[in-house]
Amino acid sequence: MVSKTEEEQLNRLENQVDNGGGGAWEYLSLLIKLKIRRSDKVLKYGVPILNDHKKRSALGPEEWTLYEQVCIAAMDCHQLDLSKDCIKVLKKKFPGSRRVGRLEAMFLEAKGLWSEAEEAYTSLLEDNQFDQVVHKRRVAMAKAQGNLSGAIELLNKYLEIFMADHEAWRELAETYVSLQMYKQAAFCYEELILAQPTVPLYHLAYADVLYTIGGLENLQAAKKYYAAAIDLTGGKNVRALFGMCLCASAIGHLAKGRNKEDKESLELQTLSAVALEKDYKQTSPSKLPLVSSCLRSLKVPL
């Protein structure tokens, strides 16, 4: 997961490189560090470095990391000859390397040779059954072949061993959502909230899932989690504020006549609406009339 500041820093650097201001290696290193997928840029700026003998040796031992990075990016952009060349170079430098073995298996994946890739991963797992990257590649392979239930099964097995892997929980949750298995997705977000209760994203996603499942109890719970997300983000998260308004409106419709519920909901809804209008007035004033009108339509008449 990347924070807004990190993303801004990356985009600034990217702009700089795009406009000929240099800093390609810093940019590429940052991409690795933040684990962000911009394969076309990696190829654009990584390949010239690798092709230039001077620039390459200036990197020292990082040269090999760059080969790996370019190799994977090439597979992502379906430039398989390029990735094959990178693997050749790495194999020569690191014969018998497990890390290179993984790249070779990924290459088989990229070519769509699923059973060969599966064999390669299985053999890598025989040597080390706790290789997280290989486990994840198998999930990715299942997904790539459209076998979402297989991917889910593999992810669940993976999480039994590596239950602290938050990215895996997120991946599982998102896969469940894409299959409209909302209760299972909710479970994943519950795990994430337990593990990292101060990350607003999880509260927000959980609230979204609860709202989607529907029903008065879930809506009331969703309201609490939208409130948590609003709290954790200092009232600046537009999605949470909108979510609160939607929730209050839906609860109002379902729980008509329950006075206590109406009052509390209405207050929260009003506060959220005010915060949203303030935000739009400041940042996107042309949209303000539209947003105000929509927020008004969400207000439940008492």
Partner: protein, 203 residues
């Protein structure tokens, strides 16, 4: 219902859909179609489209907010939500998934002749080579038993491009990587200074 009402899509609406899909190649994306039916009710004209999301498409709250805002904005301009566009996550997945069908059903409640468009990846891939003037989309409409069916090859229920040179214009935009500029509702919710109307996209 579900008879042979042809659908016609304007260039602007069409290109936005494809550019949006190209911007987010590694995830599913979706969009709504705006337009109206003809005076006789026998055809539907799609004037515009609003790209919606590229993440967690199966969740309701962002979708509801988007639909409320879009309906209100375009309603004032005499246009309704007349359809839905979906592009699957995987290149070789040409099936209409559950989420797409559900959203399509929802839209049909308000506009019975709603069109459901699915991105045709193979056609999109072949675009630069061929001289195909038909849209790179697969049209689905609801039959009498409320199932989403692919538009018939017999010509009934088909989708055409209003401007015959739309694919040429699209190819141009693809070469110039225009997709980088397109904003969807997800982008807007992350940063409300980004305008989901994309007013300056084609200027």
């Amino acid at each position: 219902m579900g008879g042979d009402s042809p659908y016609e899509i304007h260039q602007t609406a069409y290109i936005k859909l494809i550019l949006h899909a190209l911007k987010h190649r590694t995830t599913a994306v979706n969009a709504v179609l705006l337009g109206r039916s003809s005076a006789s009710g026998s055809s539907v004209e799609i004037f515009d489209s609003v790209p919606l999301f590229h993440s967690q498409i199966g969740l309701l709250p962002p979708l509801e907010i988007a639909l409320i805002m879009i309906e209100e904005y375009y309603g004032e301009r005499g246009l309704n939500i007349v359809g839905y566009f979906h592009a699957n996550e995987r290149w070789n997945d040409s099936e209409l998934g559950g989420v797409a069908k559900n959203i399509g059903d929802h839209i049909t409640r308000y506009f019975p002749q709603a069109a459901l468009l699915l991105l045709d990846n193979k056609k999109l891939h072949a675009l630069p080579q061929g001289k195909d003037r038909s849209p790179v989309l697969q049209l689905y409409s609801r039959d009498a038993s409320k199932n989403w069916k692919v538009a018939g090859l017999d010509g009934s229920n088909h989708l055409s491009l209003k401007e015959p040179s739309a694919n040429i214009v699209l190819s141009d935009y693809i070469s110039s990587e225009k997709w980088k500029d397109i904003i969807d509702f997800d982008d807007h919710l992350d940063d409300i200074s980004k305008d989901w109307l994309n007013p300056d996209l084609f200027k």
